[in-house]
């Protein structure tokens, strides 16, 4: 009997490369046209407050590629520890940092090390603080029971192993901790032609 995970490994590797490429492209060339809305236009559409966007560096706002507003229900409080899974150019982490304040802690995790550097630079420019760890969402580089709230925006759908990602969220949260995540879901099983197309999967 073949191992389904092993069978999918080559495709998963290709998809990961395409995901890295696409979101790097959004960060490097936000003026480009993508399958999804991005930047300030998208953030405003999802109800991000203008003062949040005005307080963030332009580069973080321009590169925003989320699918909703996880801050709507995150109810962050001063002093809390927040994990932003798939932190990208850092806009959601910057907003979270303002909410948890100087006694709180914001940890970003992103597959792309250069995005981590960018996010940290954007957070510093905004006068906040975040630490970004390069890593995969299926193996979050954060200790057990160390986080009060996980936010994430349009990232988990990109994983081939969503159950593993959700288990990781559960692991890193403290008892009583919470998630506020926005993501893409589909009512029907996607056709194999879509699953096998890195560009469509990444979008």
């Amino acid at each position: 009997m073949t191992d389904p995970a092993a069978d999918q490994a080559p495709l998963e590797a290709v998809l990961k490369d395409e995901i890295l490429r696409m979101y790097q492209e959004v960060a490097d060339h936000p003026e480009g046209e993508f399958h999804f809305y991005h930047g300030r236009e998208a953030a405003e559409q999802f109800g991000y407050r203008p003062e949040w966007l005005d307080a963030a560096p332009a580069g973080a706002v321009r590169s925003f590629a989320g699918v909703g507003n996880p801050h709507e229900r995150s109810q962050l409080r001063p002093g809390e520890t927040v994990l932003d899974l798939g932190s990208g150019a850092g806009l959601d982490a910057i907003i979270a940092a303002a909410q948890v304040g100087p006694t709180g802690r914001v940890i970003g995790v992103d597959l792309n090390p250069s995005m981590c550097q960018k996010a940290e630079a954007h957070a510093a420019a905004a006068g906040g603080r975040m630490e970004c760890h390069q890593g995969a969402m299926e193996r979050i580089p954060v200790p057990d029971a160390s986080v009060d709230c996980v936010i994430s925006n349009g990232v988990i759908n990109l994983s081939f192993r969503k159950r593993k990602v959700i288990e990781e969220l559960f692991r890193v949260l403290k008892p009583g901790g919470r998630i506020s995540i926005t993501d893409i879901v589909s009512a029907k099983q996607l056709s194999q032609s879509i699953v096998n197309d890195p560009k469509l999967w990444a979008s």
Partner: protein
């Protein structure tokens, strides 16, 4: 994903459709509609604490 959250142990799992979400390109938008693709906001709590 809602089911995965519950199966993983999260409680008080809630989801709400993100009203403003849509794809920019018409071809992607049409495919997304055919598959019932939507953006959702999901919340849940890890028991204890």
């Amino acid at each position: 994903m809602f089911r995965l959250l519950e199966e993983s142990g999260f409680t008080k799992v809630r989801s709400a459709v993100v009203p403003g979400f849509r794809f920019r390109k018409e071809s992607t938008r049409n495919s997304a509609e055919a598959y019932g693709v939507k953006a959702v906001l999901m919340t849940g709590i890890k028991p204890g604490g």
